[in-house]
């Protein structure tokens, strides 16, 4: 244990304040429509934090995050109809199983790097898309796949959060815990190993760091977060559709993580905002939500060419400059 583990940085403080604000204010002011939109944004914030963390800390591009969310959602639904465990137990098992899936995917993939790693994860996302479309999500049937013909059986949601308002708070707490998990890792030994690997794999190896282990570990954390967020999404809707988990959505999620700014918590929040809230705003204004794609695309090119830290990075830099001026 080191004392740095609990040190509060200005960015961390801002993050906790923001989470508290979201927890207290958002659910009480949002109407039913925005509750639904914000809940799915909060779920995706968690998944994005995983993919952004891999990109920022290790330079790895994973294009399969939404596919892994689907795995988490699948397991949550399957367990819901299999046993009478509470939702939370199913969610934790789903997150852990997704983490194992992440490891399985990572071990062969980690021999590859850069573009090839991105492409092999894209192949995995393409494969998962087909599996979801073929076997569908469990709806209360028998057998391994748990799919029955006809209508969906009722889903047992969390008993801690039965109303949409409470469920939004629930997801916000879960997403905050996800960020804290990443931050805690970053401050302990794995974080130092990752920093070294990011700088130079050769140096890391020479220093006795088990590169494969720590890369796999990072993959596992990202998968854990994806699995939990998929389970939370299932919990909010009571069912899932394969259309949510296409490979193209994984690509989009990564692109938005870059637009938001992969190095900061704010980046994941902005990315999720762009992914789910912006189309809803356009829809409310009567603007065709297809135009959101144009905004995503321009944002991505802008981020890659001129703002490597994304929108989140620019906002953070603005605040840092302000506080320096004051001091």
């Amino acid at each position: 244990m080191n004392k740095d583990l609990f040190r509060l940085t200005p960015s961390g403080l801002a993050g906790l304040v923001f989470a508290a604000f979201c927890f207290v204010v958002l659910p009480s002011v949002a109407g039913s429509y925005w509750l639904a939109i914000l809940t799915s944004s909060a779920c995706f914030t968690m998944a994005i934090s995983g993919v952004a963390f891999m990109h920022a800390r290790l330079g790895m591009v994973s294009l399969t995050q939404v596919g892994l969310m689907g795995v988490g959602g699948w397991v949550t639904l399957r367990l819901n109809y299999l046993w009478d465990f509470p939702f939370e137990v199913n969610l934790v098992i789903a997150a852990l199983l997704t983490m194992i899936c992440g490891w399985v995917l990572a071990l062969p993939a980690l021999r590859l790097r850069g573009l090839y790693l991105a492409l092999v994860t894209l192949m995995a996302a393409g494969g998962l898309e087909i599996l979801f479309a073929t076997y569908q999500f469990p709806n209360g049937g028998e057998g391994f796949w748990g799919v029955k013909i006809g209508s969906t059986e009722p889903f047992r949601g969390s008993i801690l959060a039965t109303s949409p308002t409470a469920y939004l708070r629930y997801v916000i707490v879960a997403a905050t815990l996800g960020f804290l998990l990443i931050e805690a890792h970053r401050r302990m030994f794995p974080g130092r190993a990752w920093a070294l690997i990011r700088r130079s794999e050769a140096a890391a190896m020479a220093a006795g760091v088990n590169v494969t282990l720590y890369k796999t570990w990072a993959f596992g954390i990202a998968a854990l977060l994806a699995g939990a967020s998929g389970g939370l999404l299932a919990g909010s809707l009571g069912l899932l559709d394969d259309g949510t988990f296409r490979a193209s959505e994984s690509i989009m999620l990564f692109a938005l993580a870059v637009v938001g700014g992969a190095r900061f918590w704010l980046g994941a929040v902005i990315a999720a905002f762009l992914y789910r809230v912006l189309p809803a705003i356009l829809n409310t204004w009567g603007v065709d939500s297809d135009l959101a794609y144009v905004i995503f695309g321009v944002g991505l090119l802008h981020a890659l060419i001129t703002a490597p830290d994304g929108i989140g990075g620019q906002i953070m830099a603005l605040f840092r400059r302000k506080s320096q001026e004051q001091s």
Partner: protein, 318 residues
């Protein structure tokens, strides 16, 4: 041809032949032949998409995810022109022209800003361009059932009791012809030599005085032409839907990976192999429902096989 690439070639061909023998065994050719013909046409489209990617990737280090979107924009334009009563051949040419212009515009305006970044960043940037095109195309043409007819759809050729449309034959012949043509171009012409030099080392080629921008523009042009032609064929043979055509780049990437982003010939064989196996799997009661997974599995196997025994190599060029 290197030993590894001969091996990959044999692996893909054996895979295709093996699945034919295993799945089509004992069934009349009148039925299995339909799957073979359909698979070759689809596989040719995967291969065409993959070849366009590999040509550009070798010359500029950009894996172009926006080729599908450019093809979709072209195909939709073509459909619109036909609706307006324009003479169809002009509409088809417009499809290729739109895709070419979009691709060249990216190559000339955006790609140079990222020329010295890592390949993965360049690839992700093309996604941004793909999203912009897709956004505008879906905005202009709202979802509606549409189809793009070609006169060759109505002309059929009977072979061994099967009727195969001329369009499918054209797709197949184009894939073979274009990959052969590009191979000759790269191997025999001066520009081709320069392109191979740039592919090998951009820095050294620049030092040698090779006009990198010109070489790259030609590569972008070839990629754009192929994107347009592939888009037209996808729209006709598969479906005229912008999102579907845009994300057909994913199986095209699979075909490109089968050639390890390098060998055109392997991309062609790999793409055909993927299309044929995907269609033949329909005959397997166990696997028929997951048949579209075939391209991804084959690509992953080829990629990982190539990496077998490779130790963790240190960061370098991808």
């Amino acid at each position: 041809m290197s030993k590894a690439s001969v091996f990959n070639w044999l692996f893909l061909a054996a895979l295709m032949a093996g699945s034919w023998l295993y799945l089509a065994d004992g069934k009349p050719f009148k039925v299995t032949g339909l799957f073979l013909a359909s698979g070759l046409a689809i596989g040719a489209l995967y291969a065409l998409g993959g070849i366009g990617m590999v040509v550009l990737y070798r010359a500029s280090g950009v894996l172009n995810f926006s080729s599908g979107a450019a093809g979709a924009a072209g195909a939709m334009t073509s459909w619109q022109l036909v609706q307006w009563g324009i003479w169809p051949p002009i509409a088809w040419l417009a499809c290729i022209a739109v895709a070419l212009l979009l691709t060249l515009a990216y190559g000339a305006l955006i790609a140079p800003k990222l020329a010295w970044r890592e390949t993965v960043v360049k690839a992700v940037a093309t996604l941004g361009f793909a999203l912009i095109i897709l956004g505008f195309v879906s905005f202009i043409w709202i979802d509606d059932p549409r189809s793009l007819e070609l006169p060759t759809d109505k002309i059929g050729v009977s072979m061994m009791g099967l009727r195969i449309t001329l369009t499918r034959l054209i797709a197949f012949a184009a894939a073979v012809g274009i990959s052969a043509g590009i191979w000759v171009f790269l191997d025999r012409t001066n520009i081709g030599l320069q392109m191979r030099a740039v592919a090998n080392s951009r820095d050294l080629s620049a030092l040698l005085g090779i006009p990198i921008r010109r070489v790259e523009t030609i590569a972008w042009g070839i990629s754009g032409l192929l994107a347009g032609f592939t888009g037209l064929m996808f729209a006709n043979l598969i479906r005229l839907e912008p999102v579907v055509i845009t994300f057909m780049v994913i199986p095209s990437v699979a075909a490109a990976l089968a050639g390890r982003l390098n060998s055109l010939f392997l991309v062609l064989v790999g793409g055909l192999c993927m299309g044929v196996i995907e269609n033949l799997l329909t005959l397997s009661p166990l696997l028929k429902s997951v048949r579209p997974i075939a391209p991804f599995v084959i690509a992953a196997v080829v990629l990982l096989w190539h990496q077998r025994g490779a130790r963790l190599i240190f960061e370098g060029r991808d």
